[in-house]
């Protein structure tokens, strides 16, 4: 679709707001509907749109498959790491109160924030990885 100007122009206009919206859904998740799962998918959708318009190779140069693979792992580690921190601070696993023992709501808030960030990173990376894996295959005869 590289040579068709309408998708290209519309795509260029749309991709930044989509990315921005993904971040909004991610960080506003504690006050309204949203959170890591949704944000991750929206974020990945922007990359998928880019790949559809400008081709898989171009997309792979922006988000390298190796980095995607690392991000999948890092997101999970961020999630589990948050749990382990509270464990090391003497609380139960994933007890976010540990993050700020003086004010439990603040601790919970911070905990949820970190965990959702981990979820968001992993979900976005996994969705992009799935898309790359399928799009990279050659068509059947």
């Amino acid at each position: 679709m590289k040579h068709q100007s309408i998708p290209r122009v519309v795509g260029k206009w749309l991709i930044p707001p989509i990315l921005l919206f993904a971040l909004y859904v991610q960080f506003h998740g504690d006050f309204g509907p949203g959170g890591g799962f949704q944000a991750g998918v929206i974020f990945a959708a922007a990359v998928v749109l880019y790949a559809l318009i400008f081709g898989l190779q171009a997309a792979k140069q922006i988000v390298k498959p190796r980095i995607i693979e690392t991000l999948v792992a890092l997101g999970v580690l961020l999630y589990a790491g948050t749990g382990l921190i509270s464990l090391f601070l003497g609380y139960n696993f994933l007890d976010y109160t540990a993050l700020d023992p003086d004010s439990a709501p603040h601790g919970q808030h911070l905990g949820i924030f970190l965990v959702e960030l981990g979820v968001g990173i992993t979900v976005a990376a996994v969705m992009i990885a799935i898309f790359f894996a399928f799009a990279g295959r050659r068509r059947l005869r």
Partner: protein, 117 residues
């Protein structure tokens, strides 16, 4: 009464459509579509049980007393993720099967395996 059970009926109909597709279709992709429909019917079952009559979306705000039960929603969020993972793994397998056998029709695959033995 009948309207009250509408969701359950829809859930059951979807479930049977999905299950039938999984069993009856020889095409591997169609089987996966059936499997997805089957899973989605369960999402419907859970989401409808979380509905509290007169309740709104479970988001804290001024002047609202009655909320729907958010727990089934959360459970189903997990189930949706599992569904995506299953579906994409299944499709990945189908792609690999297609490459290895040159077909994704179950009967032809069985035929080709028999020839090899």
């Amino acid at each position: 009464m009948t309207v009250g059970l509408l969701n359950d009926w829809a859930c059951m109909v979807l479930m049977m459509i999905g299950l039938y597709t999984v069993i009856a279709r020889p095409n591997l992709v169609k089987k996966l579509i059936g499997l997805s429909i089957f899973q989605v019917s369960v999402f419907l079952l859970y989401i409808s049980m979380g509905k509290v009559s007169g309740g709104t979306a479970p988001i804290l705000s001024e002047g609202i007393e009655v909320y729907s039960n958010p727990l089934p929603h959360v459970l189903i969020l997990t189930a949706i993720v599992v569904g995506i993972a299953t579906l994409s793994l299944g499709l990945a397998l189908v792609v690999r099967i297609g490459e290895a056998y040159d077909t994704i029709e179950e009967d032809e695959i069985i035929e080709r395996d028999l020839v090899n033995d």
